[in-house]
């Protein structure tokens, strides 16, 4: 009866300020059997137990309030050890380097190829949690 997927479904954390993109990705990932928590902003997520329970973060680089680099740092600060995917429509070399330094496992350009996103999620899911929260300390 419950509309949400099986309790065992991996939970994904989607943070994207663009309504259309966020909702489209939510439905896409939901249809692939993932339990998706979609937020228009990353503010306060580091204090949200629901967000910290997610296995993978999918975040848009540029958001009005907190960018994806800061968001990952905040989540790591809250001892979150999941894997992370950065999506961005305009990623120059400088931002790319910062994203890698911040510890993003994958960087996907926008417009997002849905099949590539799904494949990336499938590849990252079985990976062990990120070693220690402080490992990516460079960011």
């Amino acid at each position: 009866m419950s509309p949400s997927p099986e309790p065992a479904a991996p939970r994904l954390l989607l943070v994207e300020d663009d309504d259309a993109v966020r909702r489209g990705l939510l439905l896409l990932l939901h249809s692939r059997g993932y339990d998706v928590r979609a937020y228009p902003s990353g503010v306060g997520l580091a204090m949200d137990p629901g967000a910290l329970g997610c296995a993978i973060l999918i975040a848009d680089l540029m958001m009005p309030q907190a960018n994806a680099i800061d968001l990952l740092a905040a989540l790591r600060g809250a001892s979150w050890m999941g894997r992370s995917i950065l999506i961005s429509g305009n990623l120059d070399a400088g931002w790319r380097a910062r994203a890698i330094a911040a510890g993003y496992d994958a960087i996907l350009p926008k417009p997002i190829s849905e099949s590539i996103l799904v494949r990336t999620v499938e590849e990252l899911l079985p990976m062990p949690p990120v070693g220690s929260p402080g490992r990516e300390g460079g960011a």
Binding site: M1, S2, P3, S4, P5, D19, R22, R23, L26, L27, L28, H30, S31, R32, R37, A38, Y39, P40, S41, G44, D48, G50, A51
Partner: protein, 613 residues
């Protein structure tokens, strides 16, 4: 009451009975006080009050006690002589009837109250148990007044936090408040609001929900509030979207499949008509969908197609399904064309579908015709070259000086024979004539070559790989079946070239056919064609085989006419090749390859463009 311990229950029962008795006693005192006024009239009337009190407040037992006590008290008030008179007894009976009636009414009311509260309780349980459905009420201004357990799960707000919030907090977007009020207004006006919308949980995350709102109308007709039901339909929406995606994907594939595709049902009615089919037959899909597929075929198939399907459905014996055949199609403009038709069968949900894949053979036939034309052109050139230049002209032109030389030689012999001292001056003159005729013969040969060289070359700028590919399509017909592997390597900078395409293709065909023939019966059969840029002016083409090589005795005269190692043929092939290549300003050579086989190389000129190195 039921929760009280037995001791307390007992003391409560005692207290209730005592209260009932007390009420009767109080009435008795009041009646006593009224004795001077009332006398013996209505001795029981006042006791209705304590009985009713007991019925309403204390329950059935105390009420019966109060009734009995009231009867005793009523009779005690009467004058002993009148106590059991008929009037008094009648009053007592009336008193009992009134009290009984009140008791009965109360019983009924109590039952109804119990049923009502039971129903309310059940409803409450139902609302609470409705898992997945957030059910809550808002007042007329939209503030939450009740909240079920599922609402806590679905929307993420605890009951205590949610009560008193405005229902706009569950909506997304900057004008959530206005939207929320609009929805309530619509529910008020239309009696109901229902729709799918993105909703926001307490933590800010979003989901798609089915929202329905029903107004709660009071007796005055005004909306007292609204019942809202919010149900998470993200999963359903995601599934629908995935389905839609798959369908779009399929459609896009079908739109780009080069073969025309027509889907029909068991009655031959067209269900779908692909883009390629639209182009091929000249009908838009909407013009043929729903019509019988027989309109795409000329007679007699047109009249018989329904019978074809019926026969297949009846017998199960396919004539075309899964086999494919070449049939004739009928375009919208009435013209017909050859087409390859293959039909697949599919069982979809509740109906049997047939899908026809159609390949237009018109173009393929055109292509074959073009190849034939090319071949005849080549044969023509070949014949012209061979017969014209090498034999006929050569023989005729050379006859003149040769005849002259023969005549002068005879004349010289005659001069020598006739006298012992020949006329040396005359003899010298004859010899001079002979020499001159020899030179003339030489000039004829040279002029002939120049003529052939200049030929009527129609030089154009051609893409070399394309020229080679066309030639190989002709030269290598059936070659793969002979087990010859072919390998083409094109240097990207070795094109274009300035050539007479037909003549150079003749060279290529000759060399490739020679190569294939040379490899017959050889263990390794590999034909390699390659191009390379030699210098800024010229390009080299090489055709190498792993054949038997060139016999030493023919090697020196390889490119001369009438020199053939083959059983058939005039031995003109390579001499024509050389003539053509040299006419193009190039050179042709033959080399032995390491490990056996021969490699022919010839050069071609690149088109000279100003500023092009």
């Amino acid at each position: 009451m039921s929760e009280s311990p037995p001791g307390a229950r007992l003391s409560s029962a005692v207290a209730r009975h005592a209260a009932a008795a007390g009420a009767v006693a109080a009435s008795y005192l009041v009646r006593l006080a009224a004795e001077p006024v009332l006398g013996d009239r209505a001795p029981f009337l006042l006791f209705v009050l304590p009985v009713v009190f007991a019925i309403l407040v204390s329950g059935r037992g105390p009420a019966v006690l109060a009734g009995l006590l009231s009867l005793v008290a009523g009779f005690s008030l009467l004058d002993p002589a009148e106590r059991f008179a008929a009037g008094s007894l009648l009053e007592a009976v009336l008193f009992i009837l009134v009290c009984g009636g009140i008791g009965w009414l109360d019983q009924r009311l109590a039952t109804q109250r119990r049923l009502a509260s039971q129903a309310a309780r059940q409803l409450e349980l139902l609302v609470e148990a409705a898992s997945g459905y957030a059910i809550f009420m808002v007042d007329a201004q939209g503030f939450v007044t009740s909240w079920n357990r599922a609402a806590e799960e679905v929307l993420g707000w605890r009951r205590a936090q949610a009560i008193g919030q405005h229902c706009a907090i569950f909506l997304t977007g900057p004008d959530a408040r206005r939207q929320a009020m609009e929805q309530l207004d619509r529910a008020r006006r239309e009696g109901r609001f229902s729709g799918e919308a993105w909703q926001k949980r307490a933590d800010g995350s979003e989901f798609v929900a089915n929202v329905s709102i029903a107004p709660i109308i009071g007796e005055s007709g005004a909306a007292l509030g609204f019942a809202k039901i919010v149900h998470d339909v993200t999963a359903r929406r995601a599934e629908e979207r995935a389905l839609q995606r798959r369908e779009e994907h399929l459609k896009s594939i079908l739109a780009t499949v080069p073969d025309a595709m027509v889907v029909i049902d068991e009655r031959g009615i067209i269900l779908s008509f692909s883009h390629a089919a639209e182009r091929l037959f000249g009908y838009p899909e909407e013009a043929v969908a729903g019509r019988n597929v027989s309109l795409l075929m000329p007679s007699p198939d047109r009249e018989r197609h329904d019978a074809y399907i019926e026969r297949y459905l009846a017998t199960g014996v396919p004539r075309i399904i899964g086999i494919g055949r070449i049939v004739t199609g009928l375009r919208a403009d009435g013209s017909t064309f050859p087409m390859a038709l293959s039909v697949g069968e599919a069982q979809a949900a509740d109906q049997r579908l047939f899908t026809g894949f159609i390949q237009d053979l018109t173009e393929r036939r055109d292509f074959e015709a073009r190849l034939e034309q090319l071949e005849s052109e080549l044969i023509h050139v070949s014949r012209l070259n061979a017969m014209g230049t090498m034999a006929s002209t050569l023989a005729h032109e050379l006859n003149q000086p040769l005849t002259a030389i023969a005549s002068y030689s005879e004349a010289a012999a005659f001069l020598l024979d006739r006298s012992e001292e020949p006329d040396t001056a005359m003899l010298r003159d004859v010899m001079g004539q002979i020499a001159e005729q020899s030179l003339r013969a030489g000039r004829i040969v040279r002029r002939l070559r120049e003529f052939v060289s200049r030929g009527d070359l129609a030089k154009t700028i051609e893409d070399l790989p394309k020229v080679i590919e066309e030639a190989s399509a002709l030269a290598l017909v059936g070659v793969r079946e002979k087990g010859v592997a072919t390998h083409f390597t094109y240097a990207p900078d070795a094109t274009p070239v300035l050539i007479d395409r037909v003549q150079i293709q003749q060279v290529l065909i000759n060399l490739m056919r020679n190569a294939v023939e040379a490899m017959e019966g050889m263990p390794a059969r590999q034909l390699s064609v390659a191009t390379a840029l030699l210098d800024p002016m010229s390009v080299q083409v090489s055709i190498a085989d792993t054949g038997c090589g060139i016999a030493p005795q023919v090697r020196d005269k390889l490119f001369e006419a009438f020199n053939s190692s083959k059983d058939s043929g005039m031995g003109l092939g390579l001499s024509i090749c050389r003539t053509i290549v040299e006419a193009h300003g190039g050179r042709i050579t033959a080399l032995d390859r390491e490990g056996g086989g021969t490699e022919f190389r010839f050069t071609l000129m690149r088109p000279q463009v100003d500023g092009d190195g």
